[in-house]
């Protein structure tokens, strides 16, 4: 089949490192009147003590609590017509601001200020702990299926810190986090050489580097040897967990260990999940919802972590479907892939879709700034412009081989989340 190559995508960027170790990346986008300023800290839930989880995320909240110089972080951004927010995951913590490009220095001023002078008072920590515990309740405890992913992680991982979610293992860990641990966390992880500043907007790279040096150049680095993360031992037998909850429909999840972000298996896993669940014409929807009428919703996805991650199948059962039928149906789908039953048209379709999605994602300065920071964090910035090529190169044989190696009983963890 003649491949339908789309337009050649390329995010042009320039990259430098300040004397204190801060990485700076700049992308010029002349279509926007806004500038996006992203700062990524290479710290996430992976860096937490198993007895004090949820700290990285709590810390993301504390970063908005003001400094000795600027007691209120949000107001100056808002005065500058800007908007800011942040997120934390298992691997990193990301802070982002978009504002009119003439006000870029306001963003740099505030980010440089909170990189070194955060106000970590007892009172600020106490209130923020309560906010985060309410977040824990709202998103995980007071929702149907809210604890599903937590249960899954605890089964799939035995040693690696991916066994807890970013919010933490339990609200008590957040409530009990000692002030000195919180201060040590800031000291250990929030400094120039553990951060990446990325900027996208209608500003040339030289100017971005000059401004980065003006605002961040004077911050002394506090190098710290990040303790090694425990390696997850190879799983050798099938795992299973069954729980009962007050929910309207039973959900089944089957998860497998797969390769890390820089391995070829990452891309093979991603394309396999697209074959299974990328869009309404994908296999799981066609076969299991429309054909066999077993589920009301189905999905297959990769967790996308930096270290060895998960490949996950999930489905919500119709009241008429038995758990055995549902589970067997997933294994049949895996079997089809392992046997190499993949069509040329189908494969071309998911590759096209990947390429189009990448292009749609580049319409916006914030996505670009965030992605530049992310690729630099995983240690392969040029990969941002190579991924489409890698996807294009994946063959049916490689995908079948990936499916055979990954979808093994002894590599599986099955969670039955049963409706009472």
């Amino acid at each position: 089949m003649q491949p339908l190559y789309f337009v050649k995508t390329m995010i042009k960027y320039q990259h430098t490192k300040l004397n204190n170790g801060l990485e700076v990346i700049s992308n010029r986008d002349s279509t926007s009147r806004l500038v996006a300023v992203n700062i990524l800290y290479k710290v996430g839930a992976r860096n937490e003590d198993p007895n004090c989880t949820g700290l990285a995320h709590l810390f993301e909240h504390l970063m908005f609590r003001g400094t000795h110089n600027v007691p209120d972080f949000d107001t100056p951004i808002q005065m500058a017509c800007g908007e800011n927010n942040a997120f934390t995951n298992n691997d990193y913590t990301d802070f982002y601001i978009t504002l009119p490009k003439d006000n870029i220095e306001t963003a740099l001023w505030l980010e440089s200020d909170r990189m070194c002078g955060l106000n970590l008072s007892e009172q600020a920590c106490d209130i923020e702990k309560r906010v985060v515990i309410e977040e824990f309740r709202q998103r995980y405890l007071n929702q149907p299926y809210g604890d599903l992913n937590m249960l899954l992680r605890q089964m799939v991982y035995t040693s690696h810190p991916y066994r807890w979610a970013t919010i933490g293992l339990k609200p008590e860990h957040i409530a009990d986090a000692p002030l000195e641990s919180i201060r040590k966390f800031y000291n250990d992880f929030y400094h120039p050489s553990n951060a990446i500043l990325s900027v996208s907007g209608d500003i040339d790279a030289e100017r971005v580097f000059e401004l980065a040096d003006k605002w961040f150049g004077g911050i002394p680095d506090k190098p710290y040897n990040i303790p090694t993360i425990p390696v997850e031992p190879k799983q050798t037998e099938a795992r299973r967990m069954e729980v009962e909850r007050d929910v309207p429909a039973t959900t089944i999840v089957i998860a497998f260990h797969m390769g890390n972000r820089l391995s070829k298996d990452f891309f093979l896993g991603d394309i396999t999940s697209d074959l299974l669940a990328g869009g309404d014409s994908a296999r799981l929807y066609e076969h299991l919802i429309k054909g066999k009428k077993l589920f009301t919703s189905v999905n297959a996805y990769i967790s996308g972590d930096v270290d060895e991650g998960m490949f996950v199948f999930t489905g919500q059962l119709l009241p008429t479907t038995s758990e055995q039928e549902a589970e067997a149906a997933f294994w049949e789908e895996m079997e089809l892939l392992s046997n190499g039953e993949i069509g040329d048209y189908e494969l071309e379709k998911v590759k096209n879709k990947f390429e189009a999605n990448t292009l749609f994602g580049e319409l916006n300065v914030m996505n670009k700034a965030m992605n530049l920071g992310y690729y630099s964090m995983i240690g392969d910035l040029p990969l941002i412009n190579r991924e489409i090529e890698i996807y294009r190169s994946l063959s049916k044989t490689e995908i079948a081989d990936f499916a055979r190696r990954t979808f093994q009983k002894e590599n599986s963890s099955t969670l039955i989340y049963r409706a009472k």
């Binding site: 001023w109 309740r137 994908a282 096209n352």
Partner: protein, 420 residues
């Protein structure tokens, strides 16, 4: 280091949409941004839930459009879009249904062939409808386990009246009796030229425009349309609903006011912004930052075709529910008795200007705003008008609005939680 100076945008240039009328009278609005290699085509029909003759038929019609047509199966439609990486998106609210197609410019013609089938020749097969109904029924059952869903549905009943088409909600079991004929009738009555506007944005070449005109011109015209009756609104009082085991209570408050065309809509938007419209708002400062009662609280003016309302929503810890209600009442009372400071008002005005800039950054955002303007009877010069109206708002005007519109006896309160 000291705070850098600010530049505040005092005008927003946005291009007018070019209006073309198809041969059957359907208006087409064109926002040509050739610098972006994408096209989005949206059909907006006056076919929202208030137009439905029986429960769930309006949303079922919109969601079933792509489930089979005279010349293509559901699978062929899904695959035809996925193959080119194109998107199809359905949205429905009380008044309108929005059907959008989004593609890379070079694949627009192929995407339009599918769009034509979806918009003009849907067949609503029984089998697909049965799958859709089973899925939605289960999703709705899950949604209704959440305190925020229960609060939202009861708030609508309380504000508009239990039987009013804006306020009513239906049991999930209504999905059991929905037939393909119901859906076909709804489609025939409402998906017609007189009920439709078309909005397109991105790189609109002559070829693209010809395609769009040809689809729009083929929409059937009806000689008479069913008249939509809007009964008078009847707001009620405070409602409390017991939800056993909830660790948080969901609170919704607000009152019926007026639609966006009303001269006080914009200043009321400013007032709701002060109260709870941004991160540093009074309610956010009080409930989250000072008290840690909640993860978030939000208030806004909401616009419908025939009216508009002010709404405030939050989820708070079960044990602090009464305290939180007391603090909300206190913040509203403060707005009614004290002038807002010039600094705070300036901040809110800048946030609103920044929000407009962000929405209008890129072709799709411009198209969304254009659509909203057209549906309210305005053109895009209204954006500058709104910005100026925001700038002209004074502390005295806000005080007067609060005194007239936020009387405690006029505010409806819905609380869902565990009161035992």
């Amino acid at each position: 280091m000291t705070q850098p100076p600010l530049t505040i945008p005092d005008s927003i240039d946005i291009q007018q949409a070019e209006k073309i009328v198809a041969s059957n009278g359907t208006p087409i609005y064109v926002i040509n941004c050739p610098e972006y290699e994408v096209v989005r085509l949206s059909f907006v029909f006056h076919a929202g839930t208030i137009t439905q003759a029986r429960p769930f038929v309006a949303s079922a019609t919109a969601n079933m459009l792509a489930e089979g047509s005279a010349n293509l199966t559901a699978q062929q439609i899904a695959e035809g879009l996925d193959y080119y990486g194109s998107y199809f998106d359905i949205n429905i609210d009380r008044d309108y249904s929005y059907i959008s197609f989004c593609s890379l410019s070079k694949f627009f013609v192929s995407t339009a062939k599918i769009a034509e089938e979806v918009i003009l020749r849907p067949t609503f097969p029984e089998n697909e409808l049965a799958i859709y109904c089973a899925k939605r029924k289960q999703q709705l059952a899950i949604e209704r386990r959440k305190v925020e869903t229960i609060a939202r549905e009861n708030f609508a009943k309380a504000i508009f009246g239990e039987k009013h088409p804006y306020g009513i909600s239906y049991p999930e079991s209504e999905y059991d009796t929905l037939t393909s004929d119901d859906v076909k009738t709804h489609y025939r009555n409402h998906y017609i030229a007189q009920n439709c506007i078309v909005v397109c944005s991105g790189n609109i070449t002559t070829e693209v425009l010809e395609c769009i005109k040809s689809i729009a011109a083929s929409l059937p015209t009806a000689t008479c349309q069913p008249k939509i009756e809007i009964p008078p609104f009847s707001s009620s009082h405070t409602i409390r609903i017991q939800h056993d085991g909830a660790v948080q209570s969901s609170i919704r408050m607000g009152r019926l006011l007026f639609p966006r065309s009303h001269e006080e809509f914009i200043p009321m938007q400013v007032l709701s912004m002060v109260l709870g419209g941004y991160f540093g708002s009074r309610l956010m400062q009080n409930l989250r930052e000072q008290n840690g009662f909640t993860y978030g609280v939000f208030s806004a003016m909401v616009n419908f075709q025939h009216t508009g309302y002010l709404a405030l929503a939050t989820q708070v810890g079960t044990e602090v529910t009464e305290q939180a209600l007391g603090e909300i009442a206190r913040e509203i009372e403060t707005l009614r008795t004290q002038l807002i400071s010039e600094e705070e008002l300036e901040l809110v005005k800048n946030i609103m200007a920044g929000e407009m800039m962000r929405i209008l950054d890129g072709p799709f955002g411009i198209a969304d705003v254009t659509t909203e303007n057209i549906l309210c009877g305005f053109d895009n010069s209204h954006i500058q008008h709104n910005l100026e109206r925001i700038r002209r708002t004074t502390p005295e005007e806000l005080l007067s609005l609060a005194q007239r519109y936020l009387k405690p006896e006029d505010i409806i309160t819905v609380v869902v939680g565990d009161f035992n």
